[in-house]
């Protein structure tokens, strides 16, 4: 039996592991894919204290090594269920079951898809969810960004430096993101705005050639020929597997406040998958510390 099982080896989960090991609790970290989480897609982190510049990969690797050196155990299996009873908790993975006294859910979030027919098979063949990862493939090409939040705006600005033309397709008539970024985009001659519209069809012959865009107000359908479509329509917290036990809000985020407590005693939430206003690297690691401290207290008292 472990003292604490942590689900997710992103910045929140790995920081929780560091705190829990320093309190001499036995720790198992379960991860479906690989350590690091979403941050590994960021080429250059500039807003984390101490490190003026560090890549997401380097950051994640350092935290991973730190947690491992302190004795945290990592197992690469996907957690599919948590059970809680008088004897403790059980975390069920695709391969095993692990008994523990406390659980920290730090699963983060994944990219929201457009939900169009051939979207999945066109990933890597014109569809991308990461402008900074794949933008370099679209030098002097025509691309579109879908979305209206900060990620979409920043993606469009990043791509405007590389691509010949950038369409920004947004379902509303105004942007939710930073005004400064919107202004910077408007100053670019190669950025074209398409408001009140959604992408309704992906046109492809082996790779993406064009999209069909539908105007929500007029119903008009326009075909835009392009080489790449960058999808930035938000993220979905990865909490679905725990929904029968843990209270979620309407968007699927765990209803846990700044103290990281969920509705179940002994189960805590840390990072991007809980209700919060600011989702940044530094708030994720902060959550890891808070959730671990609460979990350590719970383990000591039970």
């Amino acid at each position: 039996m472990y003292d604490i099982v942590i689900i997710g080896a992103g910045p929140a989960g790995m920081t929780a592991a560091i705190y829990a090991r320093r309190a001499s609790k036995s720790v198992l970290v379960l991860e479906a894919l690989s350590y690091g989480g979403q941050i590994i897609n960021t080429p250059d982190i500039e807003n984390y204290p101490v490190a003026a510049h560090i890549s997401g990969f380097e950051f994640a690797t350092k935290v991973y090594e730190q947690a491992q050196a302190l004795g945290a155990e990592f197992v690469f299996e996907k957690a599919v269920e948590i059970r809680s009873d008088a004897n403790g908790k059980t975390v069920v993975t695709t391969d095993n079951e692990y008994q523990c006294k406390a659980v920290i859910i730090a699963t983060g979030s994944e990219n929201r898809k457009l939900g169009l027919d051939n979207e999945e098979e066109l990933v890597g063949k014109g569809i991308s969810y990461c402008a900074t990862c794949d933008g370099a493939f679209y030098r002097k090409k025509t691309v579109a960004v879908v979305g209206g939040g900060n990620t979409a705006l920043e993606d469009a600005l990043y791509l405007a430096d590389l691509a010949e033309t950038v369409y920004l397709i947004h379902r509303r008539d105004a942007f939710r993101g930073d005004e400064a970024t919107v202004e910077a985009l408007k100053a670019r001659a190669n950025v074209r705005f398409i408001y009140n519209s959604t992408v309704t069809k992906l046109i492809a012959d082996n790779r993406l050639d064009a999209v069909e865009v539908t105007d929500k107000n007029t119903g008009d359908v326009t075909k835009i020929e392009l080489n790449g479509l960058f999808v930035a329509v938000g993220r979905i917290p990865e909490n679905q597997n725990f929904a029968s036990l843990i209270d979620l809000d309407g968007s699927g985020y765990i209803k846990a406040g700044e103290n990281c407590l969920t509705n179940v005693p002994g189960i805590f939430a840390a990072g991007d998958n809980r209700v919060k206003n600011v989702r940044q690297l530094v708030t994720a690691t902060a959550d890891g510390a808070v959730a671990a401290t609460e979990a350590i207290r719970f383990v000591s008292e039970h």
């Binding site: 690989s34 690091g36 080429p43 890549s55 997401g56 690469f76 990933v123 890597g124 790779r207």
Partner: protein
């Protein structure tokens, strides 16, 4: 076996003319998920003799990326007898890569 670094100059010889299946890992130094995938790829190379594992840096060999329609990395492409037979885009866990090779 080790992972073989392949370039535009050696691609024909190492990949297309190979009698063994070849798994080509298209990657770049600036790509975090590619760095994350690297240890898994190296491990698979050392544990599997039935497949050759090649790495292509897309910045140095952008013509190969273009030719094989690679527009998102990491991208793993399995070649048999000079032809692409399977492809996987994005960071994947080891069992899924083994399934790509053997399945």
């Amino acid at each position: 076996m080790n992972v073989i670094e392949v370039t535009t100059a050696t691609f024909e010889e190492e990949v297309i003319k190979s009698t063994k299946p070849v798994l080509v890992d298209f990657n770049a130094d600036w790509c975090g998920p590619c760095q994350m995938l690297k240890p898994t790829i190296e491990q698979i190379a050392s544990e599997n003799d039935n497949v050759k594992i090649a790495s292509v840096n897309i910045d140095d060999n952008d013509d190969l990326a273009f030719k094989y329609n690679v527009s998102s990395i990491p991208c793993l492409v399995l070649f048999k007898n000079g032809n692409e037979v399977k492809r996987s885009v994005g960071l994947k866990p080891k069992p899924e890569i083994l399934k790509l090779i053997n399945g």
